[in-house]
Symmetry: C2
Subunit: 209 residues, 2 copies
DNA sequence: CACACTTTGTGAAATAATTCACAAGGTGTC
DNA sequence: GACACCTTGTGAATTATTTCACAAAGTGTG
């Protein structure tokens, strides 16, 4: 029964979640794959196919019951119980991320931040303490932190990665443009803004939609 | 002769560029698709196939001459002459982006920032002035700005998008999790950190590499 | 309850992307 | 210059993803 689920499907699941969460807040009861697809500018077939990888959540004739579907997707994505997140590297970007309120509603709670600079250590952002790197192990284990947003300078990325993996971090969102080397069992993913800009630039020069 | 070039290929081109640029700085002369692929943890076939969409840049027996290839890719991506960029919405994230030095070396120059808040207007970050939204048209036209990093609150994203498109912006990198509505001829692309986190969370629960 | 309409879930078909495999060149050594 | 060894560029094969198309079910109206 183990059919492999495309990465693309998982990514789209995140998008569905955002939209459905919003709809559930609005009090929407049921929605058809058609309406959801319209909202997201995609095809209904795609929506149904994606959901069908994980089960049968809909009802023929009427569609999907939004509150239930939100729950189901949250479960699939592992968002039901909230995930504890650390920000490592409290520079410009790290500070912005730590200050951002938008992650919380999705169940991602920044519960600690880390830096090497004595100027940063001991400061609080939104009530969250900035620890020194020597407390990495202790704090990550104590607070049971699973994910890290990695915003340190490129030169130290690999070294810091090793340290946080050793401390028990299981997933890393990496903002430097350095390819991360992580052991099996740890998932890393890159946010490469420079590459995004370059792609945009390409499409500007060719100007095909 | 118009074979369609996959989006994925363009994205990877950005990655090759970053790596090759770095290598050229190091003084590397030639590199084989194999070595480049190893560096990026991918297959040589993929590298060659991607490059072959745009021309024949290599030499059999020895590989690609790095300085030339960097040039060629820069040209393909439209990076030769530099692109002027504006940051719109100088909150936490916008400020971090405007302060970032890493875009410049790639030919992306932040030459203006915008906000509505009187507290932000008139301030300078890295020597770049923050203008009010009423100056949008004037400044974008005067400075010939083509791209925008959009970091305003979700509620006003669509409204602000319309304004900057009207002012002449041709490409937008959108950081809100709101799907942008842009006219044909304008390219928009989303950086959705929340979705990235959700995907990571999924892979953590299933823990398949 | 019959019938006209919706909508899901899913194999099968169509498209798209990646990987293979190899001919055609190039390099270097003796 | 002959031989052993690399490396590119690219059709063809393979694999992945999307789209199609339709049976099976649910809704609602009179
Ligand atoms: N700021 C941006 O908009 C932006 C955009 C794209 C990519 N990035 C990338 O994100 C990363 C951070 O960017 P930034 O602009 O916030 O840089 P920054 O210099 O403002 O912040 C880096 C922080 O990391 C801390 N640090 C340094 N060494 C450390 C270590 N060994 N352990 C823990 N902390 C350490 C520093 O004290 C500093 O606070 C960089 O890799 C950069 O390339 C940033
Ligand atoms: N900060 C983050 O780490 C983060 C992460 C993910 C997504 N985002 C998204 O990025 C956007 C910005 O986030 P932020 O944390 O920087 O928010 P912020 O509130 O700190 O900044 C928003 C800025 O936009 C300005 N603004 C408001 N209305 C405007 C208008 N009509 N025209 C021009 N400027 C206007 C505000 O004055 C403010 O300076 C949001 O859409 C947010 O959802 C932020």
């Amino acid at each position: 029964m183990k059919k492999k689920i495309p990465d693309k499907t998982v990514q789209r699941l995140s998008v569905y979640y955002r939209c459905l969460y919003f709809l559930s807040q609005q009090g929407t009861g049921e929605i058809s794959s058609k309406s959801l697809a319209d909202l997201l500018e995609m095809k209904p077939d795609q929506v149904r196919k994606d959901l069908s990888y994980f089960g049968k959540f809909g009802k023929r004739g009427s569609g999907y019951y939004v509150p239930d579907l939100v729950q189901q997707i949250a479960k699939i994505l592992g968002l039901e119980h909230g995930r504890k997140v650390a920000v490592v590297g409290m520079g410009n970007l790290g500070t912005a991320l730590a200050a951002y309120k938008g992650f919380e509603v999705l169940g991602f709670n920044v519960v600690a931040t880390f830096d090497v600079s004595p100027q940063k250590i001991g400061k609080k952002i939104r009530g969250v303490m900035c620890y020194g790197m020597k407390d990495l192990n202790k704090v990550i284990k104590e607070k049971n932190i699973e994910m890290a947003l990695l915003t340190v300078p490129p030169e130290v990325v690999q070294e810091v990665t090793s340290a946080i993996v050793a401390a028990g971090i299981k997933a890393i969102l990496n903002f430097s443009s350095v390819t991360l080397n992580v052991p099996k069992g740890v998932k890393a993913s890159d946010v490469d803004l420079a590459s995004e800009l370059k792609s945009l630039s390409y499409f500007m020069t060719t100007s095909n939609r």
